[in-house]
């Protein structure tokens, strides 16, 4: 039972780990013009979407890559570094980072032939934020003024309005967004999937759009066989710079990553953005794929959280001792087979504002100092690390536990939950009894997204229940700073404070390793662990 069963179980975890954004990168890619087949077919590894295919409802990888291909937003992200650029937006102007004047490009079309106008954005955002429409990503619209009216904090209250007061139409191709307060990251945020526009026909009949989504992206929806295939075709009227250079796209749904990998090697599947654990053992994929290995910097951060509601972890010396007792270098090389690198910071490398070594000596393996701090902490008893045990999560954490055990001479045990859902139930319910895996995958490429959800008091993914008024104040100040560079500086100050407190210890960063088949001349992967479709070239 083991292999295929493991892969089965791994799926939900893998899905939930990666959110999605990326519309594509800018400009045409290198030197394969002329030799490629512009009418070719590309097949990409997919998993069954877990929610309806509305942009504001697909917060997991399987559905996210589908809606990302179908919809384009105001802002796109460059494939290489995630830098935002104006995609559908003609200009985004603001003096105070609170009121934004957004002009959109003219002549863009939805797949049903109607033109994309400012009203499509305004209506779509209002629709997604409106509580009774039950969109998973509704809370992303919270910075917009009037969000409380359409989405009351109390889930049983009826929303007073169905439109946010902060969204105002100025003309056919222009609208004004007023936020609750200055938010400098807003211009980056609006590249995230939920901020897509929706066609007029969608509002007339959302149910029909569920079966056949109509977008404004580089690809249009053709057909879907549940659990097997999602078929798309190039949208020839597409105006964006992230046009695709092939005709048909098949998202082939696999239940087992292992099988998909076999298909990739055999040339039956063209692209995978992640490889199964068995291919990573001994770097087997290098022999299998040769120069068809595709890599990318990912927006992920693996960490182990110290829940602050557990008394023992209130002692900063214990937290530091444990962190210094983990031999990150060795674990990433051996157990993780080189597919991860040790992490030294609370932000993932490649993000604007990233600085190496913000965690300083506390994220470096130092047995002597660890022992000394541990003795000073006076901790007795047993340490545990909790996580879901499927999807290859168990092994590195067991190794971390062993490392702690050997260095500190304290008993350490891995406590596994059967799957991601069961594990998150424990974490969200604040029922942890020990340390816990706290991996984060950013929604959009910004340092803000690595700090606010994780370390702000009451943050949506603040697994360690960390609360430091100083950090909160700095984060708030940074959010409201209109100038991006200045804002980043303040975020960095907050990061430094967090590093001192060490509410969770950064462990490692995943290297994005995927692969393409020989049918593709070129394929790149984005920082969001998605194929950068505009870079795909099919062999003629």
């Amino acid at each position: 039972m083991s292999r295929s069963r493991v892969a089965w179980v791994a799926l939900p975890a893998a899905l939930a780990m990666t959110l999605s954004a990326c519309g594509g990168g800018g400009g045409s890619t290198n030197a394969t013009d002329g030799k490629d087949n512009p009418d070719g077919t590309v097949s990409i590894y997919g998993t069954e979407p877990k929610s309806t295919l509305f942009p504001a409802n697909t917060t997991e990888a399987g559905g996210g890559k589908v809606t990302d291909s179908l919809f384009s937003r105001l802002v796109g992200y460059k494939t290489e570094d995630g830098a935002p650029y104006n995609l559908m937006a003609d200009s985004i102007k603001s003096d105070d980072a609170k009121v934004y004047n957004i002009k959109i490009k003219q002549g863009w079309k939805f797949h049903d032939g109607t033109e994309v106008k400012a009203k499509n954005f305004v209506d779509a955002w209002n629709w997604a934020a409106y509580a009774p429409n039950a969109q998973q990503a509704a809370s992303f619209f919270a910075p917009i003024a009037g969000f409380e009216d359409v989405h009351p904090a109390d889930e049983n209250a009826k929303p007073a309005k169905d439109k946010m007061s902060g969204l105002e139409l100025v003309g056919d191709y222009e609208f004004k967004v007023t936020l609750n307060g200055p938010t400098s990251v807003f211009t980056t945020m609006i590249g995230y999937t939920p901020f897509s526009p929706m066609a007029d026909s969608f509002f007339a009949d959302p149910k029909a759009a569920e079966a056949k989504p109509i977008g404004n992206g580089p690809l249009k929806f053709v057909s879907r066989t549940p659990n097997a295939l999602i078929k798309m075709e190039r949208f020839d009227d597409y105006k964006g710079e992230d046009k695709v250079h092939f005709k048909t796209l098949d998202y082939k749904i696999y239940s087992s990553q292992e099988t998909a990998y076999q298909d990739l090697v055999a040339g039956k599947l063209d692209f995978m953005e992640a490889l199964p654990p068995s291919a990573k053992v001994g770097e087997k994929y290098k022999a299998d794929l040769g120069d068809a290995v595709v890599t990318a910097n990912l927006l992920g951060q693996s960490a182990i959280a110290f829940p602050q509601y557990i008394d023992a972890f209130k002692n900063v010396k214990l937290r530091q001792a444990v962190s210094m007792a983990i031999n990150r270098e060795q674990i990433t090389k051996t157990v993780l087979a080189g597919s991860y690198v040790p992490s030294t910071s609370f932000v993932s490398p490649g993000i604007k504002g990233y600085r190496a070594d913000t965690c300083g000596e506390y994220c470096k393996f130092n047995p002597e100092k660890a022992k000394q701090l541990f003795a000073e902490s006076g901790f007795t008893g047993k340490l545990t690390i909790q996580s879901n045990q499927d999807g290859g999560r168990k092994e590195p954490l067991e190794a971390a536990c062993n490392s702690i055990k050997q260095t500190l001479g304290v008993d350490c045990e891995f406590v596994g939950a059967t799957n991601f859902g069961a594990f998150r139930q424990i974490v969200d319910g604040k029922q942890l009894t020990g340390m816990s895996r706290s991996d984060w995958s950013a929604d959009y490429p910004s340092i803000e997204n690595f700090l606010n959800p994780l370390y702000r008091t009451g943050g949506s993914s603040n697994d360690s229940n960390y609360s430091n008024p100083e950090v909160d104040a700095l984060l708030k100040k940074a959010d409201q700073t209109a100038n991006e560079d200045e804002a980043i500086k303040i975020y960095q100050q907050a990061e430094d404070l967090i590093a001192k407190d060490l509410p969770s210890m950064p462990t490692w960063n995943e290297k994005g390793i995927g692969g393409r088949s020989k049918n593709l001349l070129d394929a790149k992967m984005s920082f969001k662990r998605q194929g950068a479709l505009e870079s795909f070239r099919v062999k003629a």
């Binding site: 083991s2 089965w8 780990m17 917060t59 998973q136 509704a138 087992s256 099988t259 993914s461």
Partner: protein, 309 residues
């Protein structure tokens, strides 16, 4: 005979109600919040949970939920899963594929198993007998996924290149022969052994000795008298096996990426989607019941002494 069949068919109704309720209650009792982990690293938005619970009747007590489900089922509505795809549609795409694979597996195990069983049963302790004994032992001790991976490796593009690594989204009979073989391999070994012991036992029966004494040719003695009587336990096994082949194909489906119902059930349990699990299990129960009815009727064909009134 007609009344017997009618009675058996009527019995399906209480069994159907009982099993659906049982399965529904069991899935309902899984101690996991269906929304846990659904929205990634962060908990789901309360408004989202409230709306979806409302939509999927998750707030009602178990019995009310069940009757609402049953009511929809009666008008042919299997309900929809979290991702808005109707369960009926998902079953409709997966069911024929699984059924195809199940039937292929059944044919393979029946043909090879019975032939091997008959040959070895007639020539006890010969070379062939020992060969089948060892090879069935081998098959029984191998987990299905090992058989699947090994065959895929050697027959796939990296080996003899006789097949693809996975089947297409709408597989043909040809594509399903190998997965069907893998799926049926274990039962094939059982069928061979069952047939063999049954043949060995019946060879000494009085009616066989009589047939031989009458001077009937060997082929008639074996083919008509001996085989027909010896097949009763084998048919019983094969009949119930179709159900388990269909529901238990999760591993084989995973190895060859077949979009079958085994995978649907597994995902349904994982995501705590009771309606998906109940829908499929109900259909499987019906398959079991119908197959056992067919098996019972076949007894009368095989053994003239058995009559149904």
């Amino acid at each position: 005979m007609g009344r017997y069949v009618l009675r058996r068919l009527l019995q399906l109704i209480p069994v159907f109600l009982g099993t659906t309720f049982l399965i529904y209650a069991l899935v309902w009792a899984i101690p996991q919040d269906p929304f846990a982990g659904k929205c990634g690293q962060r908990p789901c938005d309360p408004a989202y949970i409230a709306e979806m619970s409302q939509k999927l009747n998750l707030n009602d007590p178990l019995v009310i939920q069940y009757f609402k489900y049953l009511g929809n089922l009666l008008v042919g509505d299997f309900g929809t899963t979290f991702n808005g795809v109707s369960v009926g549609e998902q079953i409709a795409t997966s069911w024929p594929i699984t059924l195809k694979m199940g039937i292929i597996a059944l044919i393979i195990e029946a043909v090879i198993g019975i032939v091997a069983g008959v040959l070895t049963g007639l020539r006890k302790q010969g070379f062939l007998d020992n060969l089948v004994l060892v090879s069935t032992l081998f098959l029984i001790s191998l987990p299905v996924f090992v058989t699947g991976f090994v065959l895929r490796l050697y027959l796939g593009p990296q080996g003899f290149d006789l097949m693809d690594t996975s089947v297409s989204s709408d597989p043909t009979f040809g594509e399903l022969i190998l997965p069907g073989f893998v799926l049926g391999s274990l039962s094939m070994a059982y069928v061979a052994r069952l047939t063999r012991s049954s043949i060995v036992e019946n060879r000494r029966a009085d009616y066989v000795r009589t047939a031989i004494a009458k001077g009937q040719p060997q082929s008639r003695v074996v083919g008509i008298h001996l085989l027909r009587n010896s097949l009763i336990p084998v048919i019983t096994f094969l009949g119930t096996d179709l159900g388990s082949l269909m529901g238990g194909a999760i591993v084989t489906e995973g190895v060859f990426n077949i979009n079958g119902i085994g995978g649907l059930i597994f995902r349904g349990i994982q995501e705590k989607e009771g309606i998906m699990v109940t829908g499929i299990v109900t259909l499987l129960v019906l398959v079991y019941l119908l197959m056992s009815l067919i098996v019972d009727l076949l007894y009368a064909v095989l053994d003239p002494r058995i009559r149904y009134e």
